[in-house]
Each structure stands twice: as structure tokens, then as C-alpha cells.
Amino acid sequence: MSTARIDEQGNKVYMQYTDASQQDATGKHGVWLFLVTEVMMFSGLFVAYAIFKSIYPEIFYEGHKFLDWRMGALNTVVLLSSSLTMALSIYYVQKGKNAVAMGHLAFTLLCGAAFMVIKYFEYTHKIHEGLTPGHFFTYANGETANLALYFGIYYCMTGLHGIHVLTGMALIAWVMYRLKKGEFSPTQYTAVEGVGLFWHLVDLIWIYLFPLLYLVS
């Protein structure tokens, strides 16, 4: 078993690290590397988007009309505010104000939930109209051939993003749990920071998805 010790500041330092600052730096390094893998994974979808956009610009134009840009914009606002509160919660953990940080984390979590609820309404509306992915596409009044392909892209991109929002929410809940147990201090908060970085990435991806899918001209 990997063993840990407690240093002078009361930080838990695992045996492979010489001190807490090395441990923090390494942890952050790992989170950044993980974010790189996330970017690479999403980039596959963005490349697919770019390719099909160049082949069939018309299905993107027609497809985007089925999306409600107000819903998308609302979700953008929701996620942007959640990013702000996420950043603030890290700030308050650094200042040692754990209760305030907890409030901000809770708000972030709430925003994530709100995003998913809005997304749920959007999805059910589309499914109701028969704008369902692939073989299940039953919408009959499409003007362009291959309209289903647009929705294939739409569901893949927003679906994978949605899974990331859910993952992010779970991570925030985990951080809140640890915060409640008093595991974070102004000198030890790498997990909060890491989850924060992940949450910002999820937000950032949405900021790209929104214009690419909702605001096609």
C-alpha cells in the first residue's frame, strides 16, 4: 500500500512525494494532462462536424432551425455563471472560508442540474417531433436529404457533452463531501482546483457547441 505521512502544516503527503508542494504541482499536472485527453476526444467530433459542414452546409442550416436558440443561450448563461461560482469557491477555499465555498459549490451543482433539465426539455421536444438519431429519425417534412445526419452530429456532440456535465456534477458533489469532512485547507485544495478546471473545460466546450449548432447562418 502506498503510505502517507502528515507534514508540519497538517497536510497529507503520500510517500512518493518529497513535500506537499510537489504533491500539489504533480496533481495539477495530472489534471491538465487529463484535460488534454478530453480535448483530443472532443476534437474528433469537431473534425467530423467540420467535414460534414463543408459537404452539406444546407442540412446544418435547416437543422439549426429546429433548435431553439433561446434555450441554448439560457444554457450558456447557466453554465457561465456556474463557472464563475466554481472559480469563486476555489478562491474561498484558499481563504479558508469553507462555508462560503460550500455555498458556491452548491450553486454550481444547481446550475449543472438546471442545464441538464433544460437539455431534457430540448431533447424530449425533438424526440416528440421524430427528430431522433439515425434509424429512428421519423421526421417526414425535412427539406434537405440527410437531415438525419445533422441530428446524428447534434446528439453525439451534445450527448457526450451532457455525459461530461453529469460527470462534473458528480465530481462537484464529491468535492463538497470532502469539504464537509474538512479535508481541504488554504494549503491543501488540489482536488477542488482540479474539479474546477474540469468544470471550466465542460463549460468551454459548450461555448463552442452553442454557436456551431444553434447559430448557423
Binding site: M15, Q16, H29, L33, F34, I59
Partner: protein, 529 residues
């Protein structure tokens, strides 16, 4: 702090019981877990290979039907790629020795390290369960639209490969963080052993390329389950797009397979020539160069798939560039041996065998990168021979050499040198007998993934099948040598080869914390003066 050192205590007897192994966070033990699982998968994949060769011994159907053959061919390929060669060196030898070689007590994230092993095992389990749901017959490349249309259990198998991908990502992430952050005092990047450099370059590819495989496989699942149309021409998609996605990962993945092997060989050549490595900087940076270039060559798998002439030319030209760092390494190794003090112990034999086979694999790679020649050779047995020369002749020879080199350190026992050399003779001879004829079959035009062939190709196929039995015998002898070593328990000294890297300065087998006291490094890794 840590554990006070008890005489005779080491990482193997530090804790006892199966449970202590399944929950271990010790990089050395996780390395051993990988060792056992990879060897097991290798046995399965190897038996499939023997079956393939047996079926191809004569023209016409011998023992297995075409459908069954296609499944065996797919399983052989995907087991060997995803479960043996990709984790083979990094997750086994790399896990065990990377932290020790840079003077660290463990990898940066031990829990992720253990998780990566479970990802491999779970992924393999899911993939194997596909066999009970109709099998898989797409070839390891899962090309669309065949993989969409076939009635076999593609989704299950592909999800297995997806999970195994995380194993690779986590290993890579761990290695980069460990190399950047956990080096001992004085261990600058330019004092790291070349094996570490190779693992580091590999890790970069694992982190950057594997996520693309992940999304590709997810899209393939979505395509099969829902028909989203990305890869389906009848729905407006493009089947060839899959090939671009797939090779964007899988060509760099080829370097995930070979770069660590190049690192092992650097260690072996230096240690058994008792000489500082020639051109350390060039070898170290050539690994990084290969990793970087590997992302821009995927289109050389697709010269005849209808991509534009210009794209083909660009990919062909860049592919040629990969040859340069590879040539540098080979020449530098030979130069290292100049005026050395060379001993042909079994690890060195494997290193020499590696150079012999890898050179052939390399020059035939240049032929395949040449557009006009590739039009003729693409998807023939020439390609099969080429990648076996690189993957088996390269990577597997390096794994064998690495095992024999580090075995005394890992387990504290010596093995029978005679048996080890004998295994080399069989594997090396058998390998050439098996795969050299396949180069000729390929130039004569025999396509790959063939269950049957025209009579003109008969005698070379027969020779090839004979060769496969020699390889099998060689690996059996190798296995026996290791089993006997455990039974005879002949104690190994701390540094049987007189090598200079850090792992040889500690006890065999190492203690749980690797080092009694973290060393301070004040010189390069190969200071043979």
C-alpha cells in the same frame, strides 16, 4: 515515514496474499500484474496465430471454415495489438523500472496506476465476452461499412477496446507526470536513461492519440446501434472517414508499440558493451521526434482508398522523415559497440536479433511508404511481413531481451543462460523462416486476410507454417527457463551485468520503497569509464 528496512524484506514479501496483490498500489507489483496478464494474453493470441498458420499450410480449407478463420484472424490481431504489444513494455517493464530509474519511490498516481490495470482486465473481459455473443470478424481495424454490416458482436468487442484504451491513457498520464515531477535530485532530463526517454515519448502519444481512438470507437458503436450515418454512405456519411479517424490513432499507436522497445535496446547495448551510449542526445530526441511526426503520417495507410494525390504525396513524404530518426538510432547503437567490451549474454543476443529484424522491418517500411510501390504491395502479405518484422521482430524481441535483462532485479533469481540462449535461437530462426517468405508472397501478390489462396503461393506458405512452430518452441523454452529459475532459486547479485543505471544500485528484488534513501544523481546514466 516509509518503512524501516528489515533484512530480507522486499516488495514481493512486503505484504502477503492474493488480496494484497489485487489492491496493491506499488508500481512494481502492478508491473508484475501486467506481466502475468500480458503473458496470458500473449499465449492466447499466439495459439490463434498457430491456428492461422496451420490453416494456411496448404491451399484450400484444412481445419477451419472461412468464417471461423476470419474470427481467429481478428482475435489474433486485436489481442496482440490491444492486450499484448501496447501494454507489453510500458505497463510491465516501464511500470516496474521507470520510477526506479529516475530515483522515485513510486509513480505520481499509484491509484490511477492500479485502475489502469483493472481497465485492461475489464476491457479484455468485455471483449472476450463478445465471443459468446457471436464473435467478431472485422479484423482488428474495424473498417466500416463491414463492421456496420456484419452480424457479429462488434459493439461488445469495440466497447472492450474502448475500456482498454483508458488503461493506456492512464499509464501514459502517469508516466508523463512522474517523469516531469518525481525525478531525484540531480536527475535532470538529460541524465535520464534512454528507456525513460522512450517511455516518455510513448506516453505523449498515449495521452494525445488514444482519446481519438476512444471517440472513434464510440462513433462506431453509435453507428451500429443507432445508424447516425457518419460512416454510412447510404445515410450521407463517408466510410473512408472512419479510416482517417482510426489511423489517426492507430498509426501513432504503432509507435506506442515500438518506441519502448527502442528504449530497452538502448539499455541493453550500453550495458553489454560496457560503454557509454553513443549520441545520447540524438537517441533521446529522436524518440520525441518519432512521436511528433507519427501524428502526421496516418494517410500512408490509404494510398489506394481514394484520397487525393496531393494528400497522398504529403503523407508519403512525411512518412519518409520517420526513417531518419530511426536510422540515427540504429547507427548510434552500432557506434556504441565500437571499442566496447561486448558480452553475448542472452539479453544482448536479443538486442542483436532486434537490430537485425528491425532493420529489415524498417527498410521494408520505406518501400511501403513509397507511393508507386505501395499501390502494388498494399494489403498484401508484404505488409503482414513488414509489421511482424517491426512488431514481433522488434517489440517482442525487446520484451524478451528486457525480461532476461531485468529478471534478476525483479525477482532476485538467475535463470539458466543456456535455455535463454536456446530460446533466442529458436525464436530468431523461426521468426525469419515464418515471415521472410511472406515478403515474397506479398510481392507475388498474395492479399492479406486470406483464408485460402491460389496454388502458386503454396510452398512459401508451407515454409512459413513450419517456421511458426519454431517460434512456438522458442517461447516454450523461454517460459521453461523462467519457471526453472523460480524453482532453482539461484540468488542473483545486485548488479549481475555491471550496468550503471539506478535500478542496479538497489537490492534485488527491490524493497517496497525502492530506495533506502533517495539518491542524489551527479552524472549521466551510462558512465562507463
Amino acid at each position: 515515514m516509509g518503512h524501516a528496512h528489515v533484512e530480507g524484506s522486499n516488495y514481493l514479501n512486503h505484504e502477503k496474499g492474493l488480496w494484497s496483490w489485487l489492491t496493491t498500489l506499488d508500481h512494481k507489483r502492478i508491473g508484475i500484474l501486467y506481466f502475468i496478464s500480458v503473458m496470458f494474453f500473449f499465449l492466447i493470441g499466439g495459439l490463434f496465430a498457430l491456428l492461422i498458420r496451420l490453416e494456411l499450410m496448404e491451399p484450400g480449407q484444412q481445419y477451419i471454415s472461412a468464417d471461423f478463420y476470419n474470427q481467429v484472424m481478428t482475435l489474433h490481431g486485436s489481442i496482440m495489438v490491444f492486450m499484448v504489444i501496447i501494454p507489453g513494455i510500458p505497463a510491465f517493464l516501464g511500470n516496474f523500472f521507470l520510477p526506479i530509474m529516475i530515483g522515485a519511490k513510486d509513480v505520481a498516481f499509484p491509484k490511477l496506476n492500479l485502475l489502469s490495470w483493472y481497465c485492461l482486465i475489464c476491457g479484455a473481459g468485455i471483449a472476450v465476452s463478445a465471443l459468446f455473443a457471436g464473435g467478431i470478424d472485422t479484423g482488428w481495424t474495424f473498417y466500416t461499412p463491414y463492421s456496420i454490416k456484419t452480424s457479429t458482436a462488434v459493439i461488445v468487442f469495440v466497447l472492450g477496446a474502448f475500456v482498454m484504451g483508458f488503461s493506456s491513457i492512464l499509464t501514459g498520464l502517469n508516466f508523463i507526470a512522474t517523469t516531469h515531477k518525481l525525478r531525484a535530485p540531480g536527475m535532470t532530463m538529460n541524465r535520464m536513461p534512454l528507456f525513460v526517454w522512450a517511455l516518455y515519448s510513448t506516453a505523449i502519444i498515449q495521452v494525445l492519440a488514444t482519446p481519438v481512438l476512444a471517440i472513434t470507437l464510440l462513433l462506431l458503436v453509435a453507428e451500429r446501434a443507432l445508424g447516425i450515418g457518419f460512416f454510412d454512405a447510404s445515410l450521407g456519411g463517408d466510410p473512408v472517414l472512419f479510416q482517417h479517424f482510426f489511423w489517426f490513432y492507430s498509426h501513432p499507436a504503432v509507435y506506442i508499440m515500438i518506441l519502448p522497445a527502442l528504449g530497452v535496446i538502448s539499455e541493453l547495448i550500453a550495458a553489454f558493451s560496457r560503454k557509454t551510449i553513443f549520441g545520447y542526445t540524438a537517441i533521446a530526441y529522436s524518440s520525441v521526434a518519432i512521436a511528433a511526426v507519427s501524428f502526421f503520417v496516418w494517410g500512408h495507410h490509404m494510398f489506394v482508398s481514394g484520397q487525393s494525390e496531393l494528400a497522398g504525396a504529403i503523407f508519403s513524404g512525411i512518412t519518409m522523415l520517420v526513417g531518419v530518426p530511426t536510422a540515427i538510432k540504429l547507427f548510434n547503437w552500432v557506434a556504441t559497440m565500437y571499442k566496447g567490451s561486448i558480452r553475448l549474454d542472452s539479453p544482448m543476443l536479443y538486442a542483436i536479433g532486434f537490430m537485425f529484424l528491425f532493420t529489415i522491418g524498417g527498410v521494408t517500411g520505406v518501400m511501403l511508404a513509397t507511393m508507386a510501390i505501395d499501390v502494388h504491395l498494399h494489403d498484401t502479405y508484404f505488409v503482414v511481413a513488414h509489421f511482424h518484422y517491426v512488431m514481433v521482430g522488434g517489440t517482442l524481441m525487446a520484451i524478451m531481451g528486457g525480461i532476461y535483462y531485468w529478471f534478476p532485479k525483479m525477482f532476485g533469481y538467475m535463470y539458466s543462460e543456456t535455455l535463454a540462449r536456446l530460446s533466442w535461437v529458436f525464436i530468431f530462426m523461426g521468426f525469419n523462416i515464418t515471415f521472410f517468405p511472406q515478403f515474397i508472397l506479398g510481392t507475388q501478390g498474395m492479399p492479406r486476410r486470406y483464408h485460402d489462396y491460389i496454388p502458386e503461393y503454396a510452398w512459401l506458405n508451407k515454409v512459413s507454417t513450419f517456421g511458426s512452430w519454431f517460434i512456438f518452441a522458442g517461447f516454450v523454452i523461454g517460459l521453461i527457463s523462467i519457471i526453472l529459475a523460480f524453482r532453482k532459486k539461484e540468488k542473483a547479485p545486485m548488479n549481475p551485468w555491471g550496468a550503471k543505471t539506478l535500478e542496479w544500485t538497489i537490492q534485488s528484488p527491490p524493497i517496497h520503497d525502492n530506495f533506502e534513501k533517495i539518491p542524489t544523481v551527479n552524472g549521466g546514466p551510462y558512465e562507463y569509464r
